[in-house]
């Protein structure tokens, strides 16, 4: 197991290097600069000399290859660079945001799993029933809504009209509910669909028929034999969705003023704080890779067939 983890960690390195290269090149040709972004609200002309000094101070005048070399050297020592915007280490900026991001992603995914998986189960056990039909219509609908739209509706309904929950901000669990709902709906819908399909696959499997022939009650058949096998199929979706969630969160974070990585990333793009952009993307990528590694490890733990291949 330890060797597996180690191997997977090592395999991440080229991927991360590739991502670093791509985003470096991409953002080296981006129009606008941090200096020009500072005057985006038209409050005053930036002194051209000052702007030029700023560029020089930020090392933007060096040739691309020099900058890339410097950047890669930094990365290798674990240094994500220094933010143009605040002058702080990017690692610190990202670190300040990662907790909120994780919190939101976990809450959204928890919500999606808590509702989506049982719903999918329930629907699959009664295929064609009213619950099944409604759940699946709901799921497809959930996948067809723009997220910011959904978030805005939640905000007006729960914060303005019902006044049950705060409409924005970062704090206790009450602040977490609405953004987590807005972010969780599409993984919920996907999980409900995937779970339903997986359960339907498994429930028609031969070993389930065997279980029934043993004289097991339907509840036991489901809990002892269907659940684990079906969840194994759902696990991939959970992993992919979870990994992608922090990326998808940008919209929700912006709408709900949630101080997560996505918000930092978008704002850094607009302010041309390139080191912060690169750092945030790399951390999101790392998160995605780690989640996928965890999913793979979960497979090994759950599915004995894989353990054999691994050893």
């Amino acid at each position: 197991m330890l060797r597996l983890i180690l191997a997977r960690l090592l395999a991440m390195i080229p991927t991360i290097a590739g991502v670093a290269l791509i985003i470096f090149v991409l953002f080296s040709v981006i129009p606008g600069s941090f200096a020009s972004a500072l005057m985006d609200d038209g409050r005053g002309a930036m002194d051209p000399e000052v702007a030029a000094r700023m560029r020089a101070a930020l090392g933007l005048d060096d040739p691309l290859i020099v900058r890339f070399g410097r950047y890669m050297r930094q990365l290798m020592t674990g240094d994500l660079g220094t933010s143009f915007r605040t002058g702080e280490p990017v690692a610190r900026l990202v670190g300040q945001r990662i907790g909120a991001s994780l919190e939101l992603a976990l809450a959204a995914m928890g919500f999606a799993m808590l509702i989506g998986i049982p719903l999918g189960f329930y629907a699959a056990l009664r295929p064609g029933s009213l619950v099944d039909t409604l759940a699946m219509i709901g799921a497809v609908s959930g996948l067809s809504l723009p997220k910011f739209w959904l978030g805005l509706m939640l905000m007006y309904l729960f914060a303005v009209h019902l006044q049950w929950l705060p409409s924005f901000g970062y704090g206790g669990w009450r602040h977490l509910v609405l953004p987590a709902l807005a972010l969780g709906v599409s993984p919920l819908a996907l999980l409900a669909r995937t779970t339903r399909a997986s359960v339907l696959d498994v429930i028609n499997a031969d070993f389930v028929r065997t279980a029934r022939s043993k004289g097991m009650s339907e509840t036991r058949v489901v809990t002892w034999h269907v659940a684990r096998n079906a969840l194994l199929l759902v696990l991939t979706t959970v992993g992919l969705q979870f990994g992608a969630l922090m990326g998808q969160a940008v919209v929700v974070e912006k709408l709900f003023s949630w101080p997560g990585l996505g918000n930092l990333l978008v704002e850094s793009v607009f302010q041309r704080d390139i080191p912060a952009v690169q750092g945030s993307i790399l951390v999101l990528v790392l998160f995605f890779l780690v989640i996928n590694m965890l999913v793979d490890i979960a497979y090994v733990l759950i599915d004995p067939r894989i353990a054999v291949q691994a050893s």
Binding site: F207, R209, K214, I302
Partner: protein
């Protein structure tokens, strides 16, 4: 032989579909005395596996029993409630399936899957049940059962898995074992071992067997009585020796003609019978008259229009053919 372990009479099973119900099994009836081995033979799609599922009470939508009686040890399963039915399954009647590859849960040790039986039906505690699983494995002649109980199905060979299946099926000493093509997926050498194992164990425990197979030779070796099914109906039924020596139905003839010569490889399921041209008709285009007439050399006019009635055979048993004799 007074008390039959299994009694089926006038069984009709349909599949519900977009265009209404389609009959799959029609007017099937037979009975198996305690401790006896009964064979049900026919090509794939003739309805024999569905009959077996009906016996287990495992028909699920869209399959549905519309008529007929199935009695296990004198108890009509139609009138049994779900809980009773579950008690019957596993305790009174057990089943072995065709595909040992997929019939076992890949994520659980075989030990646990055997132990489940003791927990379910005898209220055993898991720890005791697992100890007994070792014994059950030993009884199906698995070497080193103490180690094997901890194995997962994918770690076992096909024959081993079928032994595990037998261990599960016989764990609670049922009165009837339904074996649906238990050896079809196995190598020929292993087939013989499994058949022998089943026969021995059932004989020792007084368990009756309902053996379902397309392989008439196999069934004939094991069973005292055989029913031949074609397109949802039993076309001929008789004692094994009589049936083989005096087949009355042209289809039975064909099956016997198709029996592999010594040393030839058994053919699987859908392989076409050499002696009979054509294939089993799909349930959706079941014909009027005798179902076998398109493939029958002896078919005459009324074979096309009238379904043959069930008639008693000279040697005992029944046959459904206008040209009987």
């Amino acid at each position: 032989m007074t008390a039959a372990v299994l009694e089926i009479a006038g069984l009709d099973i349909v599949v519900d579909g977009g265009r209404g119900p389609t009959p799959l099994v029609e007017d099937v009836g037979f009975s198996i005395p305690a401790g006896a081995a009964f064979g049900l033979v026919g090509e794939s799609g003739c309805g024999k596996s569905i009959t077996a599922l009906a016996v287990m009470g495992l028909l699920r939508t869209p399959l549905r029993r519309t008529r007929g009686r199935i009695a296990l040890a004198g108890r009509d399963i139609a009138s049994a409630d779900a809980a009773e039915l579950r008690r019957l399954r596993g305790r009174e009647v057990a089943m072995i399936f065709q595909e040992p590859m997929t019939a076992l849960n890949p994520l659980q040790t075989v030990g646990r899957q055997i132990a489940e039986m003791f927990v379910l039906h005898e209220g055993a505690r898991w720890r005791d049940a697992e100890d007994r699983a070792v014994e059950a494995l030993r009884s199906v002649r698995v070497a080193a059962p103490e180690r094997r109980v901890r194995d997962y199905p994918h770690q076992l060979s096909g024959g081993m898995r079928q032994r595990v299946m037998i261990a599960i099926a016989l764990a609670c000493k049922p009165k009837l074992l339904v074996a649906d093509e238990p050896t079809t997926a196995l190598d020929v050498t292993v087939q013989a071992e499994i058949v022998e194992l089943m026969s021995d164990l059932c004989a020792a425990r007084g368990t009756a067997i309902l053996m379902i197979s397309h392989d008439l030779g196999l069934v004939a070796r094991m069973c005292r009585e055989i029913a031949v099914m074609y397109a949802g109906r039993i076309v001929e039924q008789a004692a094994a020796a009589d049936l083989l020596s005096h087949p009355r139905h042209p289809y039975t003839h064909g099956l016997i003609g198709a029996l592999p010569r010594l040393g030839a490889r058994a053919v699987r399921g859908r392989a076409r019978l050499a002696e009979i041209t054509g294939v089993v008709p799909a349930p959706t285009d079941r014909l009027a008259g005798c179902r076998f007439h398109p493939r029958c050399g002896r078919a005459t006019g009324h074979c096309h229009t009238d379904a043959p009635p069930s008639k008693a055979r000279q040697e005992g048993g029944i046959v459904r053919c206008h040209h009987d004799g």
